[in-house]
Each structure stands twice: as structure tokens, then as C-alpha cells.
């Protein structure tokens, strides 16, 4: 580019904010807005198609059969309920473990210790997901350290372990923002530990708890790898999607099943929006 041309281009860009903005947004929007959203839309549209039972070819005619089967077949209802149950159990376990930890970090530890504790909680986030699931496969195997065996319980334990830092960090951040003076005021007014917790700490930390639960809930809901590693023969929604796209080659049905966790998460997000948790993410 010659000097004069460059100057004219720079001057042009300087005068036209709209052009600058369009240039900045062009590539990202083509990628995420057109290609990615397009792929998602195509996927969910294909949920309304079906496959030919003999040839396995796509039949591109709109039908609600996939969703009908999803809603009426006993097995899919069971798997959906099981997946939601697992996600809820994981969220609850993580909350029970994470809250006291986060509270001790935010309110009992010295500022210096706080820094180190945050690093200690953050470090395992960088360890590979597979490695952590694998660690529990080794621990739980029948001749391992714990030797409890595989199954749904093992899945819940492993998922709770995997997503625990995602619960600790938002709650820690929420509790750290909570002024100590409020806790002291509650104490001065005669409230003991438990009462302070119930009437002051919990209500103020609630949005942070919800923020953490969004992570633990949605990450558990979409998971199918951990179930394969420690779940024995148990199946969750993710496995149904995976099996339908892989072995069965039934993309329309897989797409229909894949809408289930998305819809559940959207309902969950809509339900918690009023708590102000989404600004805490």
C-alpha cells in the first residue's frame, strides 16, 4: 500500500464510523452469525424430518413424529428424568461442598491466603476433563482405592468433582463482595451464626449460587463422556443423541433429542433471570 493511499484510507475510516463498525463485525458475524447459527438452525429444522426405515436416507418432509416419540415413549421420558435428576443431584452436592469452602475462603482467610486459595481452586480447572474423569475411573474401579464400582452413583460423584470449581468461584466472588460490616451489624443486633447466615448471607449470596448452578446444571445435562467412562450401562440424554447420530445414523431423531437439554436450559435460565444471576456469570 502506498503512503498516500494509506492516508486516504485512514482518513476515510476516520470519518465513517459506520464503515469501521461494519468492517469490525463482518468476519465474526459471517462466522458466528451466519455459519454457526445457520448450522444450529439447520440442525433443529432437520428434527422435523425423518429417515427412511429401509434405505436410511433423509426424508425431507415436515413431521412431528420425532417429538411425538420423544414425548410418548417410556424410555425417553425415563432418560430425560434421569438426566435432570443427575444434573440436580450434582448441583446440590456441589452447592453443599462449595458454600462452606467459599465462605471460609472469603470471610475467614487472610488476604494473602485468599490469593493462594483461589489459585488452588483454579488449578484443577486447567487439568484435562478426561484426566479427571479417568482419575475417578481408577479410584472407583473394583480393585481401586475406593473400589465402589461404576454406575449412576459413580457418574454423579465424578460430575460433581468435575464441576465443583465452577460452583466455588462464583460463590466466592459473591461472598467477597458482601461487606463484612453487614455481618458485624447482624452480630451486634444479636444474631448468632446460623441466623446471620439465614437472614443476611444466604439472601445476598443467592444470585451467586444461581450463577454457579447454571454451570453445574448445564454442564451435567449435556454430558455423555463421563457416563461412558464411569457410568457402567447407565444412559443420559447425551448418550441417546450420540448413539442416534453414530450407530443408528438417524440425524433427525438425534436433533430432536438434542433440543431437550437446550429447552430445559432455556426454561432454567428464564426462571432464574429475575434473581439477577445472569449478571454474575
Amino acid at each position: 500500500m502506498t503512503r498516500a493511499l494509506r492516508r486516504r484510507l485512514a482518513a476515510f475510516l476516520h470519518r465513517h464510523a459506520g464503515v469501521r463498525l461494519s468492517l469490525l463485525l463482518s468476519a465474526p458475524m459471517l462466522w458466528l452469525g451466519v455459519a454457526y447459527l445457520g448450522a444450529l438452525a439447520a440442525l433443529f429444522l432437520s428434527a422435523l424430518w425423518s429417515t427412511d426405515t429401509f434405505t436410511g436416507d433423509l426424508v425431507k418432509e415436515v413431521t412431528w413424529a420425532n417429538f411425538q416419540e420423544l414425548l410418548t415413549a417410556e424410555v425417553y421420558r425415563t432418560i430425560t428424568l434421569r438426566s435432570v435428576g443427575v444434573a440436580a443431584a450434582v448441583t446440590l452436592i456441589d452447592l453443599v461442598i462449595a458454600f462452606p469452602m467459599a465462605f471460609a475462603m472469603a470471610k475467614l482467610a487472610s488476604p494473602r491466603a485468599q490469593r493462594w486459595l483461589v489459585i488452588a481452586v483454579l488449578t484443577p480447572l486447567w487439568a484435562s476433563y478426561l484426566v479427571k474423569a479417568y482419575a475417578w475411573r481408577v479410584l472407583l474401579s473394583s480393585d481401586g482405592v475406593l473400589g465402589w464400582g461404576y454406575g449412576l452413583t459413580a457418574t454423579v460423584i465424578t460430575l460433581s468433582y468435575l464441576w465443583l470449581p465452577y460452583m466455588i468461584l462464583p460463590i466466592y466472588a459473591g461472598l467477597e463482595r458482601l461487606p463484612n460490616s453487614l455481618l458485624e451489624a447482624a452480630g451486634d443486633l444479636g444474631a448468632r451464626g446460623w441466623r446471620t447466615f439465614r437472614t443476611v448471607v444466604w439472601p445476598l449470596a443467592f444470585p451467586a449460587v444461581i450463577a454457579g448452578s447454571i454451570f453445574t446444571f448445564s454442564l451435567s445435562l449435556g454430558d455423555y463422556i463421563t457416563v461412558k467412562i464411569v457410568g457402567g450401562r447407565s444412559q443420559l440424554i447425551g448418550n441417546v443423541v450420540y448413539d442416534n447420530i453414530g450407530a443408528a445414523g438417524n440425524l433427525p431423531f438425534a436433533a430432536a433429542v438434542a433440543t431437550v437439554p437446550v429447552v430445559i436450559m432455556l426454561v432454567y435460565l428464564a426462571a432464574v433471570r429475575r434473581t439477577g444471576a445472569l449478571e454474575n456469570l
Partner: protein, 269 residues
Amino acid sequence: MNLSRTARATLWAALAGGLAVIYVPLLVVLLNSFNADRTFGWPPTGFTLRWWAAAWNSTGVRDALWTSVQAGLGATAIALVLGTMVAFAVQRYSFFGRDAVSLLIILPIALPGIVTGIALNNAFRTVLEPFGVGLGMFTVVVGHATFCVVTVYNNVLARLRRLGASVEEASADLGADAFTTFRLVTFPMMRSALLAGGLLAFALSFDEIIVTTFTAGAGVKTLPLWIFENLFRPNQAPVVNVVAAALIVLSVVPIYLAQRLSGGGASAR
């Protein structure tokens, strides 16, 4: 706060217990990588470096590692460009649909991985295959870049918010054109944010398995895919365990770098 002595002790114990739960499984993997027993009988009967040597010499591991590094670098490069562009657009301009744009950036990691995975798989096969482009390294990089943009975006956005535009205006007042200002003023101030965002993007890509499963095709095997494939083969167990142990040790590196770059702070994914 008037917490009773018991309450304090209980909270400290909960913290210590929680940290133990976080670290003990990882320690067991580390110890097992030296366990002489092929099936990891517990407690270990003897210690050996045999498995580390076996893993070092395994071509499968080496190839997978190299594939993962390539995919990670490709995805990070794309994420750095796209993430920076969106962050500038969102932070420096106000326009219709700005909130929708920032939501769109988060969407690929907010949706379950399997949804993004099969959506991309379906799109690649319908759009690219007629042109003779099959699933492979290219599609893996595209898939990874899609969910890596958010890490760069978050870091650059936070940096731009803190900087404000006054320094750039000063540069313009002193006669520098847009390109010179970017090269001499804006970019140097963003460098550490780009590094932190890029590091996170690389780590995210390096660890990813679900989207990779659906975009890799037959020929490409990243390290997570290799681990998952060999996880269920009893005779590969010791080598898998060594790879896991090595990854645990390596995971300290980004934490160290991130600490040095950001000077602390919980910049999680």
C-alpha cells in the same frame, strides 16, 4: 462477625476437606504412573519408570500430541482475530443488536457440546463435502475456533473497558492515522490481554473432546481422542495413566503464566 469457635473450626475443616477431595484423585493418578502393577492394584507393590518410557516412545501419543498442538494453534490464531474484532465493535460502538452479539459469542460454550458438535458435523457434511473437503484438521480447527472466540473476546473487552479511548484520541490529535495509532498505541496496551485470552483459547481447544469427536473424521486424532479411545483397553492402561499424569503436571504452566500476566484475579474460562 460472632461465629462460635466450633463454627469456625467446621468451616476450616470443610475447606481443607474440599481441597483434599479436589487434589487426592489427581495425586493417585500421579502415583499410579509409577505403579509397577499393570492393573494399578492398590496399594502399589513397587515403583517403576517403565510406563513413562513406554509413553515417551509411543508413536500414537506423539502423533496425537502434535495433532492437538496444531489444532490448538490454528483455533487460537482465528479466535484472536475474531475475538478482538468483536470486542472492539461491542466496546467502542453502540449499535442495534449489541446485546445479541455478545450473547452470540457465548452461545457456543453455553450450549451443550454435543449440540454444537452435531450441528457443525451436519453443516460440514452438507456444505463442504460437495466441494471435496472432508472432515479433517480443517474442520477441527473451525469447530474449535467457534467456541474459543469467547475467551479472547472476554479478555480484550475487559481490557478495552479499563483503557478507555482517551489515549487513542490523544494519538490522533498528535497526527497519527488509524493504522499508526493501532500499531503504536492500542496494540501494545492490549498485548497481555491477548496473551491471556490466547492462552485460555489454546487450553480450551487442547482439552476439548466432544466437538472434536464430531468434526475430526477418521484421520485426525487429537490427544483427548487418543486418551478416550485407549481408556477402555486394559493393556494400554499404564500408558494412558502416564499421559494423564503428564497432563496434570503440565496444567500448572498456564496457571503460572496467567498469574504473571494478569497479576492475580480469577480469570476463569
